[in-house]
Amino acid sequence: MAWRNLWRNRRRTFLTASALSFGFVAAVLMMGFMNGMMEEMVSNGTEVVTGQIQIHAEAYRPERSIHDTMGGREGLDVGALVAAAEAQNGVAGVAPRLYGGGLVSSGDETVGAVLMGVDPEREPRVSRFASVFVEGGMPGPGEVAVGAALADKIGIAVGDEAVLVAPAADGSTGNDLFGVSGIYRLDLGGFDDSYALLELGTLQDFLAMDRGRIHEVAISVDRVRDADPVAERVAVAVAGLSPDLATEPWSVFLGQLYFVVSLASAMNSVVAFMIFGMAIFGVANTMLLATFERRREFAVARALGTSGVALGRIVVYEGLLLGVVALAAGAALAFPLLAHIRANPIDLSAFVGTYSFMGSAIRPQLTVEYSFQEPLVSAVALLGTGIVSALLPAWRAARLPPADVLADR
């Protein structure tokens, strides 16, 4: 009977349904964009260098002393650590790293730099170094790769030799010549003008450290939003290798980014709240109008002996049926749209260019991220609103004497 009623007044049904489905599409799209922007911010902030999860010796931060390697002075089984982290669900890449501070020199020019020891095979799965070489490539044994600004400052090119000097872990002063394997440009100030990459083993030798000594394991995850649970799993998996390990997600070691993302997210949710509010309002408004216009119909039904409860039931059934159809249509429109935008993010670089903000290189694009929970919540909220706003006027109409309603009083 509900179906027949709806069908009988197709135009009204269509209008009401369109409010619902369009409200749903708007809400889902908006949340998708919002999540997309947040994840984009986090990705931009973590994909370039840091990864989304890091493991350090507990004592390493904040001083970052060269001596605070994982597993103390003895180090640990780096292969086992990497394997344990890699085996976890949701982990995309694992890269061990070693850091030292020193001088990079060529000709008469000398600058201070952070020497970063990396595994050239694993590093590309976590950071962008390998993909931003202007010239040459990642360093092999006995080689060094430097940022473009640093190369400029001391005037070196690929194929030249650079002198590196660094205080080693045993107190001696490491110094040697390294062939320049490549010059990269991350477009991240600090990394381009004061970082030098070496192959992990080479830097370990240079700094007089054993193969088991590293400062950091950087981990990338499949989905940025899963960083916290993945970090917990990794922490458990590596705990047995050394008692002093601290495994942290980006929200801990990039506190500033976390703050900015949370702030932007809060701002967006204010706008989101308005969009959702407007969607709810649109549905309520349309439903109220539609039901209001049916007072006569209800009155007639009452006059013919239909009970108030039965009438209410009809309204609810109609609402449910309408809602389900409308939301299904909305979903049929929204999800392909989301999937399309996700596959083809809206490129904004034409009018902003690439840039870095808060220490993260921003790839300017608008994309969407979605789960199935938020659309479900929106659907239920919209449907609930629709039915409540249909019931209110119906209930009033059912309570009035039918004659009054029919007389349009």
Binding site: T110, P167, S172, D176
Partner: protein, 252 residues
């Protein structure tokens, strides 16, 4: 900032004379002048040992040292083998390092001047810091007489109101009979001891009486750097030309 220095710079530096010392007692100036004359203007050549203890490692270096006054010095590491040949040249305000493995000479950039020299508790800056104690501090004799069986002066140096120095106060003990410095204590402004420098093993070496052992201890740890003279000759006839980049990289 660790204002230590190696012996030949330091012994002079601690009490180096400077003009315009208005606030300081003439008697003190006279004492300082005597100590100063003992150390300054002389050229020297010698060898020394530097033992460094840190929280993480301990090591010992043997080096050869040449100096001319406080402006010029050249230091070359002899052992351990890993670092043999590494050399440091200081000319006035600048410091160069020679790196044997790379066979290159690099000039320490201004931003790295506060880095540690050879892993010790001496900074590159200490090597070049011209001592301006009399310009920067008001010096009074806070004790005059017996201490531990020696007749000594104790100087208390407080920075002049606008002197660009980081210490709140320096205390220094000097043995009267030979004008030998015994120790210097560096305090911050709260009166907390920040660094101690101890001079000992005062002997005659190369015809002069000098403290042959200097120990530098930051107050906040078990760490220390000890510099000991093995041999030294004075007035060895070096001139400015000796302290050249060519000599810096020359192998023995």
């Amino acid at each position: 900032m660790k204002k230590a220095a190696i012996l030949f710079i330091l012994a002079g530096a601690v009490l180096a004379a400077a003009p315009a010392a208005a606030q300081t007692d003439p008697e003190i100036l006279e004492i300082i002048d005597e100590v100063d004359r003992m150390m300054q203007g002389a050229s020297s050549a010698g060898s020394m040992r530097m033992e460094i203890d840190t929280e993480h490692w301990s090591r010992s270096l043997e080096m050869q040292v040449w100096s001319l006054g406080t402006e010029y010095s050249l230091i070359r590491v002899e052992s351990p083998a890993r670092e043999a040949g590494t050399a440091t040249l200081k000319v006035e305000n600048e410091v160069w390092n020679y790196l044997p493995r790379a066979d290159r000479t690099i000039k320490i950039p201004p931003s790295m001047m506060l880095g540690s020299w050879m892993g010790s508790h001496v900074t590159n800056d200490d090597l070049v810091k011209e001592s301006r104690l009399i310009e920067d501090y008001d010096i009074v004799i806070s004790h005059d007489g017996d201490r531990d069986g020696e007749d000594v002066w104790e100087f208390t140096m407080t920075p002049r109101p606008e002197a660009p120095v980081i210490w709140g106060r320096i205390e220094q003990r000097i043995r009267k009979r030979d004008r030998m410095p015994l120790w210097a204590h560096y305090y911050d402004e709260d009166g907390t001891l920040a660094r101690t420098m101890t001079f000992s093993d005062i002997r005659t070496m190369g015809g002069r009486t000098i403290p042959t052992r200097i120990m530098i201890e930051p107050a906040d740890g078990e760490e220390r750097t000890v510099i000991t003279y093995v041999a030294i000759e004075f007035d060895v006839g070096l001139d400015e030309d000796f302290f050249s980049l060519r000599n810096l990289r020359a192998h023995q």
